[in-house]
Amino acid sequence: MWEYTDKVKDYFFNPKNSGILEDASGVGDVGALSCGDALRLMIKVDEPTQTITDAKFQTFGCGSAIASSSALTELIIGKTIDEALELTNQDIADFLGGLPPEKMHCSVMGYEALHAAVANFRGETWVDDHEEGALICKCFGIDEGMIERTIRGNDLTSIEEITNYTKAGGGCSTCAESLEAVLERVNGEMVAEGTLAPEMAFSLTSYVRPVKKGKIVNLDEKKTPLTTLQKIRLIEETIEAIRPSLQRDGGDCELIDVDGNRVMVKLTGACVGCHLSSATIEGVQAKLVEAVGMPLIVIPVTQMH
């Protein structure tokens, strides 16, 4: 099964803004039945301010296609057209807390739909994929223009990534050689423009390239609970880090004791009797919880033992 984030699942199970928008000012249709996903985006625009006041979608496609469509409507409602057009497919994916790599093309579909809808609103003809340069992937009707835009927009450096983002090459894969040629050219241009490190660029003559580093998850670190000593040290360090800011206000904070999840501190100086001391305690508590990674209660004490 795909690993969808909770936000993707939520936007799929309870999609916002799905349905037909009556009296839409612009409609964008992208994708097709044969491709397995298609999106119709409908927007309502307030003419004087050029603001998108409402948006709805209809989507034929998988869970992440529906979630991406819904996310797109949430992202653009309230924005001016110019602001909306600055959105990238990555913004849609980020809004959803990320998409599996194989599903990135769903976010690209959202990006395309927005541009199609805006073109329709402006009375322009949307420059459709099929008319920008040579048709490269015949299975999914993806042309060079679309591939180049996606390579540039997402810093793609491999054929696999191009397929994940645009679907190109995901069918019969006879276009693999053409994809390689486009990727080599565009990466080369990106290097020349200074937007891509030379060693990352795709090259037909070099087979060994640095691997893009994924996030390393240290399972041990997540699972092993802190020892009492480690916990107390962390608490100490955190309080030491907070003290200077309290001292600037003429106050101070001293760690007295730690008992389970209860942290006893003594506020001194200007903090004593200050009506903001409870806020200070809360602030200290928040910092400690963040640093130690477990629930803690900070209790102010007045006497030393």
């Binding site: 039945l33 119709r40 998988c62 529906i66 679907k167």
Partner: protein, 400 residues
């Protein structure tokens, strides 16, 4: 919510009594059957019994016609590669367009790397093989024919006996991938012309990681895996004793439940299918209703996409699978449905429900209740769905 598992063509639950049969062979009777001591001997005896159990399910004449493998995929690979070695002077393979990737990827690779000619025989709208094209493809260069016994997605059963007879007329070997058929329909290999047959343990409530290739006595064979005398030199490697013993018990149970599968399980499937078609418009059954596995229903829901359907079903506790592109990691919809010319409007929304003897009436009730709102919810979201445009007569199911 009680989960409803209707994805038995993907894998089945290992029967608890299978696990029970296997357990002593991990920590107690752990010996290597080849060893010259009591530890090995007791395992050898148990393996012999397990082989007889599987022999009975297949109706094989001799127990040594069974070669244990790691599963169906290995058995498929072993069969085809062996035939290319033994059938000297023959370098053509005939297969169907709807085979499992275990066959299709292999023959595509052989075509590319070894210059083998592959004839891929098409199917009609119900998934039935084009027999005329098959006859024409057969010839003096055909080394082996590999046609599945039953299709995993639609359940359509192929006339393997007839196909094997035709293959033999030209001197070609006949192999069948029977992974979906074994345990679901009666098989009697002693009265068959089939030369080789692949099966997999986990499709019949046995363990994963064990399968077998049946090689008819007299058929010359070259091993895929070399390095030991096990399986009479036809598959090297220390026997997977727990797996083989589990598969034996699973085979025994499959024989016991064979009539239940043909009657009660088939009735559950039919009730689900007809109930879905009645409740949900613009849907139809794919495959050959007159000739298919008793446990499989493949229903296409038009204008919506399979992964979205499965995710909503999963939330309702129902497990099934889909030929949709999005679920597989590939981007094209099912090669089986495409070969059958199922239109794109439906191919992406085809859901396979596959039953087993463990399913009950309540499972069907739950699915029949859950599906209509799921389909309706997705159709409301689909830009292609226009209720007014759907002429009900245009979508009369091919099966009713």
């Amino acid at each position: 919510m009680i989960p409803v598992y209707l994805d038995n063509n993907a894998t089945t639950r290992t029967d608890p009594s299978v696990v029970e049969a296997m357990l002593p062979f991990f920590v107690e009777q752990f010996g290597n059957a080849s060893s010259m001591h009591a530890f090995g001997a007791e395992v050898g005896t148990a393996l012999g019994k397990a082989r007889k159990q599987l022999q009975a399910l297949l109706g094989a004449e001799f127990d040594h016609e069974i070669v244990y493998t790691s599963g169906g995929t290995e058995a498929d690979n072993a069969a085809i590669l062996s035939a290319l070695e033994t059938q000297t002077g023959r370098d053509e393979i005939i297969t169907s367009a709807v085979e499992h990737p275990a066959i299709l990827s292999l023959v595509a690779h052989l075509e590319k790397t070894r210059g083998i000619t592959v004839h891929t025989i098409g199917v009609d709208a119900r998934g039935r093989l084009d027999i005329e094209a098959y006859r024409k493809a057969l010839g003096p260069k055909t080394a082996i024919v590999s046609i599945m016994w039953a299709n995993n997605e639609t359940g359509t059963i192929f006339p393997v006996e007839q196909l094997a007879g035709l293959a033999h007329e030209t001197g070609a070997l006949f192999h069948t991938d029977a992974v979906q058929a074994v345990g679901k329909i009666p098989i009697d290999l002693s009265a068959s012309e089939i030369d080789m047959l692949s099966l997999s343990g986990h499709k019949l409530h046995g363990p994963k990681g064990i399968g077998a290739l049946y090689v008819r006595k007299g058929v010359r064979f070259r091993p895929l895996i070399r390095g030991g005398h096990q399986e009479r030199g036809r598959r090297a490697g220390t026997e997977n004793a727990p797996g083989i013993i589990g598969l034996g018990r699973a085979a025994e149970l499959a024989l016991e439940y064979m009539s239940d599968e043909q009657t009660r399980v088939a009735a559950l499937r039919d009730r689900l299918e007809q109930g879905l078609l009645q409740r949900i418009g613009a849907s139809f059954v794919t495959g050959d209703p007159d000739n298919r596995l008793p446990n499989t229903a493949n229903v296409a829901f038009e204008y919506i996409e399979g992964e979205a359907i499965l995710l909503l079903m999963n939330r309702d506790g129902i497990a099934a699978s889909s030929g949709s592109a999005c679920t597989s990691g590939s981007l094209e919809p099912s090669h089986v449905l495409r070969a059958m010319n199922v239109p794109y409007t439906a191919a992406h929304g085809a859901i396979r429900f596959s039953f087993s003897r463990e399913n009950r009436d309540a499972d069907v009730d739950h699915v029949l209740e859950a599906m209509p709102p799921i389909i309706e919810k997705l159709r409301e979201m689909s830009p292609f769905w226009r209720e007014r445009d759907v002429r009900t007569d245009a979508f009369n199911p091919t099966y009713a």
